[in-house]
């Protein structure tokens, strides 16, 4: 991957590089998650499923994906 065409994210607190111009929806797919199976936050703010296509990730963005678990 050409470093000039790459941006660096923090994905669930870990460094993660993606091509520049990657959307949040594309990131979810690239991680092999079903879009409906996870919920997403970008830079600490909830990013609704319906907004992921339009959400072009920027260098330095912090992205967190959540999924259902058991709980009390």
């Amino acid at each position: 991957m050409n470093p000039g065409n790459v941006i660096n994210l923090m994905l669930d607190g870990r460094p993660h590089a993606v091509p520049a111009g990657t959307t949040l929806a594309e990131l979810v797919l690239s991680l092999r998650h079903e879009p409906d199976a996870v919920s997403t936050a970008r830079n600490g703010l909830f990013m609704a499923r319906s907004l992921r296509e339009r959400c072009v990730l920027q260098d330095g963005d912090a992205v967190v994906l959540f999924r259902p678990i058991v709980g009390g």
Partner: protein, 282 residues
């Protein structure tokens, strides 16, 4: 203390006459059950059925931090199809209102429900709710259209503020989460019941034994929410049934009117004031 609304005796045997509500949803079971820590998905599923619960709690976790869940969530969803129970997602792990609000929005999207058990922890040792962050989060989430069920302390003024913010009910702790110590401060819980007679109150956290659950219902609380006491028992399915029966017993007792304790004896056998044996012994 008198029950808020004592029903006719004839209604006591008919659970259909004793429904309660969460955000307009009528419920008959007063036993909300957590889904964490069970030895297997099948045991969890069987416990949900044995509890006859209508509300089960679930959570959210970061995807990278969460390894496979071994099918627990799938079986929860399957059990809900069978029983008709509803999901109540929580915001466990949040330390600030801002965090909890964002997580609640994610929970609403993932679980497709506006119900949220709002947890905002303020102390790592006791996992005590942070009253200030909790109130701030509840206020925002009510504005955002959520049905907010706040996990709170038993502080009367905080509880009033949460109701004022639009929470449809309150979930004060009985004891720290997972401690199994029961109702550590019955005075505070009784005070909540007395001072907030119209509020729906659920004891959440700290319940370890069915007798604790029965005590909560006897105090006039509307329901209990627990997890560890069932999940960590030797036989969770049997314990789920035991809690169901205790909750039903406690509720029946509240409706029937528990007698007031007193500091002196009152003979229950009506023998009157005369001595049993007349005259002195020879």
């Amino acid at each position: 203390m008198e029950p808020r609304a004592r029903s006719p005796t004839t209604a006591l045997s008919n659970p259909a006459d004793d429904a309660w509500q969460i955000g307009g949803t009528r419920l008959h079971s007063r036993f909300l059950l957590g889904t964490a820590g069970y030895p297997s998905p099948q045991v969890l599923s069987d416990a949900i059925v044995a509890a006859r619960t209508q509300v089960v709690t679930v959570g959210l976790k970061r995807t990278l931090a969460a390894s496979g869940d071994n099918g627990f969530i799938a079986i929860v969803r399957q059990a809900l199809k069978t029983t008709g129970a509803r999901l109540l997602p929580n915001t466990a792990g949040c330390r600030t209102a801002r965090e909890a609000v964002q997580l609640a929005h994610m929970a609403r999207e993932l679980y497709d429900t506006p119900w949220i058990k709002l947890e905002v922890v303020g102390d790592e040792h006791t996992l005590q709710p942070d009253p200030f962050e909790l109130l701030a989060g509840a206020t925002q989430l009510v504005r955002d259209g959520f049905t907010v069920l706040p996990y709170c302390t038993d502080d009367l003024v905080l509880c009033r503020r949460l109701l004022d913010a639009g929470c449809p009910l309150l979930m004060p702790w009985g004891a720290p989460i997972g401690s199994g110590q029961g109702l550590l401060n019955p005075f505070a819980l009784r005070t909540l019941r007395e001072r907030l007679p119209e509020a729906t109150l659920i004891v959440d956290a700290g319940i370890g034994a069915p007798s604790h659950a029965a005590q909560a219902l006897e105090l006039g609380f509307d329901a209990v929410l627990l997890n560890s006491a069932v999940a960590q028992s030797r036989e969770p399915v049997a314990m789920a049934k035991a809690f169901r029966l205790a909750v039903e017993a406690g509720r029946q007792a509240w409706r029937a009117g528990v007698m007031a304790p007193q500091d002196f004896a009152v003979a229950s056998t009506p023998v009157g004031g005369e001595p049993v044996l007349l005259g002195d012994a020879p």
